[in-house]
Amino acid sequence: MTIHIFAREYVCLSIVAATAAISVLLSSLESLSLWNHYRREGLFSWQVHKARHSQLLTSRLIPIYDMIFAYPAVLWLLGLRMLFCGLVLLNLGHRYALLIGCAGIASTSVLLTLRGPDGKNGADQMTKIIFTSLALALLSPHAWLWRCEIVFLSAQLCLAYFTSGFLRIQEQGWRSGSALLTVLRQHTYGNHFCWSAARAHPRLTRIASCSVLIFECIFPVALLFPIKILVIFLGFGVLFHVVNAAVIGLNTFLWAFIAVYPAFVWTSMSFHSWLGTK
C-alpha cells in the first residue's frame, strides 16, 4: 500500500470522503423514513416515474430497472448506499476499501437519480460529484492524479459558490436584503422568528445578505489568501451553512459543502508553495 508515501493527499481525500459520507448517510436515512412514498401509489412511485420518458418505457433494460427501482427494491438500494457510507467511514486508512465505498455510493446515487425526482437537492448533487470523482481517482495508485482530484473538487466548489453569488449580486433584491426576506417568510425555506427579526432590522438583513453575496463572489479568489486568513474565511462559510441548516433546514448541505473545504485548503497551500509565498 502506498498510503504512507502519499500521506498528505490521501489524508485530504479521506477527510473529504468521510465528511461527504455523513451527508449521504443523512440523506439516505431521510429517504428511508419516507418509505411509503416509494410505493406504487406514492409520490415517488417508480410506475409513474418510468413514464416520464418514452425511451425509458421502451428501453430493453426496463425489466432490470423494474427489478431495482420498484418498491421495495428501491429501499434495499438506499440501504446499500448506507452500507457503503459505513464502509467509507470505518475504512479511511485502506485505499481499496475506501475505493469500493466511494464507487458504491457514486453508483447507487447515480441509479437513484436515474430513477426520478424524490426531493434531491444541491447537496445530493455535490456528494455525487465528490464520490464519482473520488472513485475514479482512488483507482489509480498515483498521487499526482489524487492531486488533480483535489484541485477538481476545489474548482467545483468555487463554481458552486461563484455561480450562485454572481447571479444574485446582479439583482437589486439580493443587494437590498428584500430577497432574503422573501426566502425567510416561507414555511418551506424560512423561519418565523428570523423573518420577524429580519423585518424589524432591515439594515442588519441587508448586511447579512451582502456578506453572503461577497463571500460567494470572492470564493475563487480566496485560494490566494494567506492560510490564516483563509481559515477565518472558511470559518464564515461553515457559519453560513450552519445558519442555513438551522433556519432554512438545508441540513445535508452543511456536510456536503464543508466536505470539500479540506481540498480547498490543500489546493491553496499547494498554490502558495508553487508561488513561493505563505
Binding site: E30, S31, L34, H37, E41, G42, L43, S45, Q47, V48, H49, A51, V110, T113, L114, P117, G119, K120, G122, Q125, K128, I129, S133, L136, A137, S140, P141, H142, W144, C148, E149, F152, A155, Q156, L159, A160, Y161, T163, S164, L167, R168, Q170, E171, G173, W174, A179, L180, T182, V183, Q186, H187, T188, N191, W195, S196, V242, A245, G249, L250, N251
Partner: protein, 165 residues
C-alpha cells in the same frame, strides 16, 4: 497502463468541469440536457430570483351525489426545531416545487393532464383520498401558492380535473 488511465481520468475531469461551467447558463445546450445521471450540477441555489411562495397541494373528493369533501393537504408536517439535523419532510415539499415547475413548463395546456408531473401528483392524491374518512368516487387536486407568514391567502395556480378512483 496506469499512465493511460490517469490521462483519461484527467481529461474526463477537465471535460466534466468545462460542461459544469457551460451548464450554469440559462439555456442549456441540448447535449447537457441529456444528463440523466445528474452529474452536471446546477449551482443556481435561489438565484437570481428566490422562490417567492410556499407551494402546497390539496385534494378533495366528490361522492355520487356531487358533494365535495373539505380540502386536505397532500404533504403534512411543518419544519421542526430539529430541522438542522433531521428534515425528511423537506424532500416532500421540494418534490412539490419540482413537480409544479415541470407542470408549468408543459407547452400544451390541453395535454397537461397527460403529463408526468400531473400523473405523479394524481397518483399520490388518489392514495391520500382513499385514506380520507369521507369516501368519495372522484378526486381533484389543487396547487396553491401563498406568501408564507406574510399572507395566509392561498392563490390557486393549478386546478386538476376530477378523476375517478
Amino acid at each position: 497502463m496506469w499512465h493511460i488511465y490517469d490521462g483519461l481520468v484527467l481529461s474526463f475531469f477537465g471535460l466534466w468541469f468545462l460542461c459544469s461551467c457551460i451548464a450554469q447558463r440559462r439555456v442549456l445546450p441540448r447535449v447537457l440536457r441529456r444528463d440523466q445521471a445528474g452529474l452536471i450540477p446546477n449551482c443556481r441555489f435561489f438565484a437570481p430570483r428566490p422562490v417567492s411562495f410556499d407551494l402546497s397541494v390539496y385534494l378533495r373528493t366528490q361522492d355520487e351525489r356531487g358533494c365535495h369533501s373539505s380540502w386536505q393537504p397532500l404533504v403534512e408536517g411543518d419544519k421542526t426545531s430539529l430541522c438542522f439535523v433531521w428534515n425528511p419532510s423537506h424532500r416532500l415539499r421540494k418534490t412539490v416545487y419540482d413537480l409544479t415547475d415541470m407542470l408549468q413548463q408543459q407547452d400544451r395546456r390541453e395535454t397537461w393532464h397527460l403529463s408526468y408531473p400531473y400523473l405523479l401528483l394524481l397518483n399520490a392524491c388518489t392514495t391520500a383520498a382513499r385514506s380520507l374518512p369521507e369516501h368519495g368516487r372522484r378526486v381533484q387536486f389543487v396547487i396553491t401558492a401563498r406568501a408564507g407568514y406574510e399572507d395566509i391567502i392561498q392563490n390557486i395556480i393549478f386546478l386538476s380535473h376530477f378523476h375517478p378512483y
